[in-house]
C-alpha cells in the first residue's frame, strides 16, 4: 500500500517509528505492506515511488530539519498539492498542524486528495470542524475513504466505540472531558491551590499547552471533537458554528474552592444532546467522568445499553500514531474486500 505523508512533526514521525517497529507483524497479521512513497514537510518533500527508507527519513529529519534535504530523494519547495496530484499512491495521511480559523493547509490537502481518488487519514481537527459534512459527502461521491480516529481521544478508540461497537443501539447523548491541557490546568489549580495563570504557565513549561494556548483553553479543541463525534457517530450534519463554546480562561481558584465545599469540582465538559456545547461545569467528584491530569473521559448514553464510559490518555505522538495505523488497517480491509468482490 502506497502512502503519502503530509506533515512530519511529532505525529508524523511517531507514525513512521510505529511502522518500523511493527513492520513484520503488520504484514503477517493484517496483510499490510505500507510503503511511504512521499513525505512532505514545511520546506519540501522526499519522494520515492518504490518506497522511502523510513529509518533514514527519520534520521534526515532529526539531523537536518527537513526531509527535502535527503540526498537523492529530497526536493526543496516541492508542495504537498503537487505531490498529491503527481505521485501514485492509494492513501494520503494528513498530519499538519490544526488551524481552527481557516482549516488550512489541511483543508486543501484533504480536498485535493479526495478529488484525485486517494483515500485519506487525518489527525487534523481544523478542516473537519469547519467542513466535515461537506468532506464526507465529497469522499463518498468520489468513492474514497475518509478516516480520522486520531482526532478524538488520541489513541483511544472513541469514534469506533461509538460507531462500531454500539451498532444497532441508538446513542442519545455524549458528554466528556475531551481536552487534556485544560483538564491538567484545572486539576493543578484545584490540587495545588494556584491561580489559572500559574497553572497555564506550568502546562506550557511541560509542553502540554502551546505558546498560544487559545485553541485549548478557549474550548475550540473540545468543540472540534464534538463536531467530529456528532457527524461520525450520530449522523448530525454540524460544523463548528453550531457549537456554543465557553473556555476556562475565567475560572478562578475561588470557583474551584466553592465547588469543593459541595464535593464537586469544575471540568471543561463537551456535550452533545439537543445541542452541542462546551462549557466549564461543576461535576461530582464521584462522577465516573471526573478524571484528573491530562486524562480524557467520554460517556455515551445509549437507548438500550445505558451508559458506557471510556477513559484514557487523550493525546501524545505514539498514541495518535496508533490511531492512524488503526485507520490504515481499516481501509486496507475495506479495499481488499472491494477488490475481491
Amino acid at each position: 500500500m502506497r502512502i503519502i505523508l503530509l506533515g512530519f512533526g511529532v505525529v508524523g514521525q511517531s507514525f513512521l517509528q510505529l511502522l518500523t517497529l511493527r513492520y513484520n507483524e503488520l504484514a503477517s497479521i493484517y496483510g499490510l505492506r505500507p510503503r511511504i512513497v512521499a513525505i512532505v514537510d514545511r520546506k519540501g518533500a522526499a519522494v520515492d515511488e518504490r518506497g522511502l527508507d523510513m529509518k533514514k527519513m527519520l534520521k534526515v529529519k532529526k539531523e537536518m530539519g527537513s526531509v527535502s534535504k535527503a540526498d537523492d530523494k529530497g526536493f526543496l519547495n516541492l508542495s504537498a498539492e503537487e505531490v498529491i496530484k503527481k505521485t501514485e499512491a492509494e492513501i494520503v495521511i494528513e498530519v499538519t498542524p490544526t488551524d481552527i480559523k481557516s482549516g488550512e493547509p489541511g483543508l486543501t490537502h484533504i480536498e485535493t486528495s479526495i478529488k484525485n481518488g486517494k483515500h485519506i487519514i487525518t489527525t487534523n481537527k481544523g478542516p473537519l470542524a469547519l467542513a466535515l459534512p461537506a468532506l464526507m459527502d465529497l469522499a463518498e461521491y468520489n468513492g474514497v475513504y475518509l478516516r480520522f480516529s486520531g482526532t478524538v481521544g488520541g489513541g483511544m478508540p472513541i469514534l469506533d466505540l461509538g460507531r462500531k461497537c454500539l451498532i444497532a443501539d441508538r446513542i442519545i447523548s455524549i458528554r466528556g472531558i475531551l481536552n487534556g491541557t485544560t483538564n491538567y490546568i484545572l486539576t493543578e489549580m484545584s490540587e495545588k491551590n494556584i491561580e489559572f495563570d500559574e497553572a497555564l504557565r506550568k502546562a506550557q513549561e511541560l509542553g502540554y499547552a502551546e505558546k498560544d494556548p487559545s485553541l485549548d483553553i478557549d474550548g475550540f479543541d473540545t468543540a472540534s471533537k464534538l463536531v467530529i463525534m456528532a457527524n461520525w457517530i450520530m449522523g448530525k450534519k454540524v460544523t463548528l458554528k453550531d457549537v456554543k463554546i465557553n473556555g476556562i480562561r475565567n475560572i478562578t481558584l475561588k470557583d474551584l474552592m466553592d465547588a469543593d465545599k459541595n464535593g464537586k469540582t469544575i471540568k471543561l465538559i463537551g456535550s452533545i444532546d439537543k445541542e452541542l456545547e462546551v462549557k466549564p461545569k461543576e461535576i461530582s467528584k464521584k462522577d465516573v467522568l471526573c478524571v484528573h491530569g491530562t486524562f480524557n473521559a467520554v460517556t455515551f448514553v445509549s437507548e438500550f445499553a445505558g451508559e458506557e464510559t471510556i477513559i484514557g490518555k487523550g493525546a501524545g505522538g505514539m498514541e495518535t500514531a496508533s490511531a492512524i495505523l488503526r485507520d490504515l488497517i481499516d481501509i486496507k480491509t475495506n479495499l481488499s474486500a472491494r477488490m475481491m468482490a
Binding site: 500500500m1 502506497r2 504484514a27 497479521i29 493484517y30 496483510g31 499490510l32 505492506r33 510503503r35 512513497v37 515511488e49 518504490r50 501514485e88 492509494e90 486496507k332 479495499l335 481488499s336 477488490m339 475481491m340
Partner: protein, 467 residues
C-alpha cells in the same frame, strides 16, 4: 501487379523524404504496377497533436497558438522543398492553410469547453494524416503522376464508434473500398489515402488505434485483393536480433504470418498483430521495406511456411524495462481460484501481463509486467491478497529482462530447449523463469538484466542466425 504501398512517418518526415517517396512510387508505376498509396502523419506530428489537445483541454490558448504556427510552418516547409511547379505549390499551400485553420478552430473549441472526449480526440489526431496525405499527392502530381488524395472515410473505411481504437466493419468496408478505389485505378489514377483514420457509419472521424496506418494498408489491400502490401519504413525489415546487441544480425528475407505475430507480440519493431490480420486472412503477402534503402528487398511475410532444413530458430528478441513479480504461500497449494484472483486484480488495475509461470507444486506464481506498472501492481496485489491466509508473500525483482525466441521450425523438433539453455549456461547466465506456449512457435525466459545481451548473443550464435 496491384500493390498497396504504405509510407510511415519517418518516410514522409520532410520535403526531401516526400521526393524520395515520389521516386519510389514512380519507379513502381514505370514497372507497370497499379498502386494505392497509404500515408502516415509526418514523424512526431501525431504525438504533438496529442500534447496540443491535452494542453487545450487545460485551457492553454497560448500553447494552442504557438502549436498552430509550428505545425503550419513545418508543413509549408515540406511543400516548399517537395514541390517545384508554382501553380501546384499554390494549390497545396492553400489546402494546408485551410486544414490548419480547421485545427485551430477545433483546439480553440476544446480549450473553451475544457473537455476532450475520445470522439473529439480522434478528430484532432486525424489532422496529421490529413496534412501529410495531400502533400504527398501533390508531390506525385509534381513529377507528372496522375493522383488523387482521399481520407480513410472517402476511401470507404467504416468502423464501429469505439473512438481511439475503432474496429472496421470488414464486410461493408471491403465493398465500399472496392467501389471507391477501383474506378480510380482503372482510370490510371493513384489514390493517396490517409492512414490511421476512418469514420463511423454516420461519418464521424475515428482512428484505428494500435496498428494504425499499417492496419489501413492491410484493410485496403485485402479489400482490393492486392498482390502485395508494401510497408515502407526506416529499417531494412525484420531482423534476427537487435543489431545494437548482435552486430552480425541480419534481415530475414522471409517469415510466416504466425512468426511475425509472435515477434510483434515480443516487441520487435514491426507490424502490430492487429494490422497483420486482414492480410493473413486473404493470404496477401506483406513486405517490409526501407524507404532509405529501396534496393534491399526487405522481409516478406506470407502464409507459406517453408521451413528449410536446419532452420529451427528464426529470431531472438530482448524485452527490457520489465519486472518480475512472485506470489508465494503454502496456502496456495490446491486452492482453486488463486490464479484467477491474481490476474483479476491485475486486470482491474489495467496491468498487462507479458509472461506467466507456475510450477506444478502450486506454491508460487511468477509473472512479468512492464516496469512502469510495478508500483500499481504490487500495491493492488498486496491490498487484495495479503492477510487472507492464502498468499504469504509478494516480492518483486526489477532487475530482469525477457529473452524471446521465435521460429516455426521449433515445433516438433526435440532438443531445442536443451540447446537454448545449454548455450545460455555456457555464458554463465542464470535463467530465472521459463515459459513456452504450446504452439511451440516461441520460447521465452527471464534472466537478470545485465545478462540479457549475453543470452541473446549466445542464442544467435548457437543457431547460426548470422548466416
Amino acid at each position: 501487379m496491384k500493390l498497396v504501398m504504405k509510407f510511415g512517418g519517418s518516410s514522409v518526415a520532410n520535403g526531401d523524404c516526400m521526393k524520395r517517396v515520389a521516386k519510389i512510387v514512380s519507379d513502381s508505376v514505370n514497372q507497370g504496377n497499379r498502386l494505392v498509396v497509404v500515408v502516415s502523419a509526418q514523424e512526431g506530428v501525431t504525438d504533438q497533436l496529442l500534447e496540443a489537445s491535452e494542453e487545450a483541454k487545460k485551457g492553454n490558448l497560448n500553447y494552442t497558438r504557438e502549436f498552430i504556427e509550428k505545425i503550419k510552418e513545418r508543413h509549408l516547409n515540406t511543400v516548399k522543398d517537395a514541390i517545384k511547379n508554382q501553380s501546384l505549390k499554390k494549390e497545396i499551400e492553400s489546402i494546408v492553410k485551410s486544414i490548419v485553420e480547421e485545427i485551430e478552430k477545433v483546439l480553440t473549441g476544446i480549450a473553451y469547453l475544457g473537455e476532450l472526449t475520445p470522439k473529439s480526440l480522434d478528430y484532432v489526431l486525424s489532422f496529421g494524416e490529413r496534412l501529410s496525405t495531400p502533400i504527398l499527392c501533390y508531390s506525385l502530381l509534381d513529377i507528372g503522376l496522375n493522383s488523387k488524395f482521399l481520407s480513410g472515410k472517402d476511401a470507404g473505411i467504416v468502423t464501429d464508434s469505439n473512438y481511439g481504437e475503432a474496429r472496421p466493419l470488414m464486410g461493408l468496408t471491403k465493398y465500399q473500398v472496392k467501389q471507391k478505389l477501383e474506378p480510380l485505378l482503372d482510370k490510371g489514377i493513384i489514390p493517396v489515402v490517409t492512414g490511421y483514420i476512418a469514420s463511423t457509419q454516420e461519418g464521424f472521424i475515428t482512428t484505428l488505434g494500435r496498428g494504425g496506418s499499417d492496419y489501413s494498408a492491410t484493410i485496403i489491400g485485402s479489400s482490393l485483393n492486392a498482390d502485395e502490401i508494401c510497408i515502407w519504413t526506416d529499417v531494412d525489415g525484420l531482423m534476427t536480433a537487435d543489431p545494437k546487441i548482435v552486430p552480425s544480425a541480419r534481415t530475414m528475407p522471409e517469415i510466416s504470418f504466425q512468426e511475425a505475430i509472435e515477434m510483434a507480440l515480443f516487441g520487435a519493431k514491426g507490424l502490430h498483430p492487429r494490422a497483420l490480420e486482414p492480410a493473413m486472412e486473404e493470404g496477401i503477402p506483406v513486405r517490409i521495406r526501407n524507404t532509405f534503402n529501396p534496393q534491399n528487398p526487405g522481409t516478406l511475410i506470407d502464409n507459406k511456411q517453408k521451413i528449410k532444413a536446419g532452420e529451427i530458430v528464426k529470431a531472438v528478441n530482448l524485452i527490457k524495462n520489465v519486472s518480475l513479480v512472485n506470489i508465494s504461500g503454502a496456502g496456495m497449494v490446491g486452492a482453486p481460484g488463486t490464479a484467477a484472483k491474481v490476474f483479476d486484480v491485475l486486470g482491474k488495475n489495467n496491468v498487462n501481463v507479458l509472461m506467466i509461470s507456475q510450477s506444478a507444486s502450486e506454491a508460487n506464481i511468477s509473472f512479468i509486467i512492464k516496469k512502469t506498472c510495478l508500483g500499481k501492481a504490487m500495491s493492488a496485489l498486496e491490498i487484495a491478497l495479503l492477510g487472507q491466509g492464502i498468499v504469504r508473500e509478494i516480492t518483486a525483482d526489477e532487475d530482469v529482462c525477457i529473452v524471446a525466441i521465435v521460429g516455426a521450425g521449433m515445433r516438433g523438433t526435440p532438443g531445442v530447449a536443451a540447446r537454448v539453455f545449454n548455450a545460455v549456461a555456457k555464458k554463465g547466465v542464470n535463467v530465472i523463469m521459463i515459459s513456452q506456449g504450446s504452439s511451440e512457435l516461441n520460447i521465452s525466459f527471464a534472466v537478470k538484466e545485465k545478462d540479457g545481451e549475453n543470452a541473446v548473443k549466445a542464442i544467435h550464435e548457437e543457431f547460426g542466425l548470422s548466416k
